[in-house]
Symmetry: C2
Subunit: 512 residues, 2 copies
């Protein structure tokens, strides 16, 4: 048994049985080990940003880590943006990066780079294996690091000779502590604050069906408000679940929504801040005299904390007011953003996984989709666009029996368009809807927000992604994914009907 | 005048008048400044790997730096792989990265990241502007750092408020020292070594027409051998120029070619080492008793050193033996690699810029293209595939009057396929030839080289990029670039004829 085989065996034994890969020479022994060790599903991606984004989506839905397999420093570099997003989403990933053989590093060959340096800003744990006999234990340690609450990026760097030299055997994953339970004082402080002017701000496990039921019951019982973070890793919503709004993205709207709160109680959420800093707007969107209390941080046991808070205030989850089923009527004619929301609200399949990278197009999707059958809503947590397609790949692999609906702005889609090929190869049940407004629409607003004035021709050229207009249906076909263009509501409804009636990847370009 | 305007004015004044951009909110003032400051050509790319690769290609052909404009840590992350390649190519780049406003960083918003940490492994110089009044001087310093011989990556991080607050004015670029001239001892030592069993190993400026003429004359006069590095930033070749081979990529071939050398004299080159380390092959490909002498390092004045060496040995550049014009006959029928080389040798346009990311397909292109009219040959210097399309973009912007021929393996092309869109938008005169062998062919060989044994089905699945086969013509059309597929020699010849007869981007997918 060589080091690579000991590692793959350790990974599979430790429950890491999916590997998103874009390997190179230094990872060939790992690849060869896939044939000699049973149980690892290896998924090839044509760009490393798809690898890391898929591992993010996989964790969110499976709640256990996938492995990656990346080629040296530059391969890791290509994965950085979606590792950043995954880190901010608290997704656990066993991030494996090949390195030159130990004896080769000193020669400064073309691919030599400071891999640990590239890894550190996007990892919670970075380790380079020194020896083929250490690789199994390093792998087991990486799994434990990745699974430590709430989920962490564990980067394991594997010099080639640690993979091809002889190993001692496999290693067992060290025990992973469950999320810590919060102190009773935190529960008491939250109970004291509960009532009018107090807001429970939710993210993490507080946005599971159970967490929302508890939070909803607490809010109903005490008169507190309920809100979710602007972006969340997974939000379970739809008919029969407790509905929850989100902190608005625009700063002034967020300030307005939070201005009457004397206390915000965080449950798996961070204190609400603006996405960007602006010349004349606050970074903190709560009012100056608003107190921030933390019931449970993201690494703590949020469901337990909510159970105890519910007990303390005498609320019962089954009494929480839930969303009534509601399918909006189907609109007709030319697109507008409300019509898009209505079409989604009417067509979202039961139990769908909705990956939302709609950016400006989707700002208003929530109200009209609230009453659709139960579904999960996944958002970009790190703000680096290009997460949607890859995240959908990982979610679809984690949940092969659920339809994934990936809604992606055209600008965002282009960063990781290669995800389409992996959807085709793995025949993943993903409907990709591209919102083709042919502009970085968000930046037109931001140009005004930062006080940069009216853009002239040269500035607008940097915000418009028309000239030439892209054709996503052709791009998808070039990567083996069928699809169609929708130019109006009827077209989009027809296309979604087709996508929802069949299994497999399908791309719809909605030309707005 | 705000900080952004002071910076853009400083850049233009300092000769940096091309900016490859993928901006976001934090860079909106820079974008707005493009309208208020004359002289900056801003080129939008849809992915940051295109930005950094284009800046690499631009430097190689213009020999002055372009600026980039990237959005925070993840945008920089997406640029890392081609910054790595550019760093290894010694390309000077003013790498500008937006950052949150200084007062916003502490709030750990979604896009907050350790930008300096991400930048350091791929930069020679990293600096964060602290104040809008410092931005102009910081920009001038960045230009000087980028231009310092032989060319460096200077990363300037620009918090939003340093762009929107008031500036003092513009700044002049500090004097940049010319490349140091080598000591006379280095010249004497090279002269002493010259003769049979001595090899001049060339890269950098030694591969310009003038450098090659000098090196060729020295070799002819002294009986020394002449060879170029395996990969080079720019190699000027073709009829009328001194022909030079390259160190073979396969380790054992390199060892064989170098085994009789008692001395290798480096001129802008590094001591030759294997691209990867293998279990049973050496990392250093020269023999144990081969002496390595350095005539001129990459940061020193290689042309001056060659002039002085030529003087010392009594060689004259005009006496160097040069390549005779030679166009191979056009082959017919099914493709093989020699036929591809012959087709290229027959059709490469005069003064073309050949960007070579052909990987395994192109290993044998050199002999049959040697006698084509004078042209430049650009290679991947950092080994991170995905450099070809972006490098072609930069080269085409630097040299609008020259045809760029980008030859790219299908696997490589997919990392930065978004480059096609920028080619269309800017109507760049680039012919992209995709070698579609539908596999990471190099890895099949490497699997054997590292002793990983015969691959089974699961390993082969990680090396094959068919299933589904891609269609690059459809992908290109989706990004506004016309093209066609070629299935045999006649088809490729016809397609190249069409591409060479017109100006603008054109993609040819050669299905091997």
């Amino acid at each position: 048994m060589n080091g690579a085989e000991s590692l793959v065996t350790t990974l599979v034994g430790g429950g890491v049985d999916v590997c998103f890969t874009n390997p190179g020479t230094s990872e060939m022994h790992f690849v060869a080990a896939l044939d000699r060790v049973d149980g690892m599903r290896s998924v090839l991606c044509l760009f490393e940003g798809v690898v890391s984004g898929a591992a993010d989506g996989y964790w969110r839905m499976a709640r256990r880590p996938a492995a990656t397999l990346l080629h040296l420093g530059p391969g890791l570099g290509n994965a950085v943006a979606n590792l950043h997003n995954a880190k901010k989403a608290h997704s656990g990933i066993v991030n494996i990066v090949g390195e030159h053989a130990t004896f080769h590093i000193e020669h400064d060959a073309p691919l030599t780079a400071d891999i640990e340096g590239i890894a550190r800003p996007v990892s919670h744990w970075v380790h380079t294996s020194r020896d083929s006999t250490a690789v199994a234990e390093d792998g087991a340690r990486a799994i434990a690091e990745a699974m430590a609450a709430p989920g962490r990026i564990a980067t394991l760097i594997l010099p080639g000779d640690t993979a091809w030299n002889a190993a001692n055997g496999v290693a067992a994953v060290p025990g992973v502590a469950p999320p810590a339970k919060v102190d009773e004082e935190a529960v008491a402080a939250a109970a004291d604050a509960a009532g009018e002017g107090c807001m429970l701000l939710l993210s993490g496990d507080a946005l599971t069906e159970r967490g929302l039921a508890l939070a909803g019951a607490i809010a109903a019982k005490t008169g507190s408000s309920l809100l979710a973070q602007t972006s969340n890793a997974v939000l379970q919503r739809g008919a029969g679940r407790v509905p929850v709004g989100r902190v608005p993205f625009p700063v002034l709207q967020a300030v307005e929504q939070l201005k009457d709160m004397h206390t915000v109680v965080l449950v798996g959420a961070k204190a609400p801040v603006a996405f960007f800093g602006y010349p004349d707007r606050p970074s903190v969107v709560t009012s100056d005299d608003c107190e921030i209390r933390c019931l449970a941080a993201i690494e703590e046991d949020q469901l337990d904390a909510l159970e105890r808070l519910a007990d303390r205030v005498g609320a019962r989850a089954e009494d929480a007011p839930v969303q009534k089923p509601f399918r909006p009527d189907l609109p007709t004619g030319a697109f507008d953003l409300d019509k898009l929301a209505a079409i989604l609200g009417n067509t979202i399949p039961e139990n769908a996984i909705c990956v939302d990278e709609s950016v400006t197009t989707g700002r208003g999707f929530y109200p009209l989709t609230a009453g659709a059958p139960p579904h999960d809503w996944l958002q970009n947590m790190g703000g680096s666009i290009g997460y949607g397609g890859p995240c959908a790949v990982g979610a679809a692999i984690a949940c092969p029996d659920r339809k994934v609906l990936a809604m992606i702005g055209d600008g965002s889609a282009m960063y990781t368009i290669q995800a389409l090929w992996t959807m085709a190869r793995e025949n993943l049940d993903i409907t990709v809807v591209i919102w083709a407004n042919r502009t970085y629409q968000i930046l037109k607003g931001e140009l005004a927000n930062v006080g940069a004035g009216n853009p002239g021709r040269k500035a607008l050229d940097m915000l418009d992604i028309g000239r030439p207009d892209m054709n996503f249906v052709e791009m998808a076909r070039g990567m083996g994914v069928e699809g169609e263009r929708a130019e109006d509501c009827e077209g989009l409804i027809r296309a979604l009907g087709r996508a929802n009636s069949e299994r497999g990847p399908y791309l719809i370009e909605a030309v707005l």
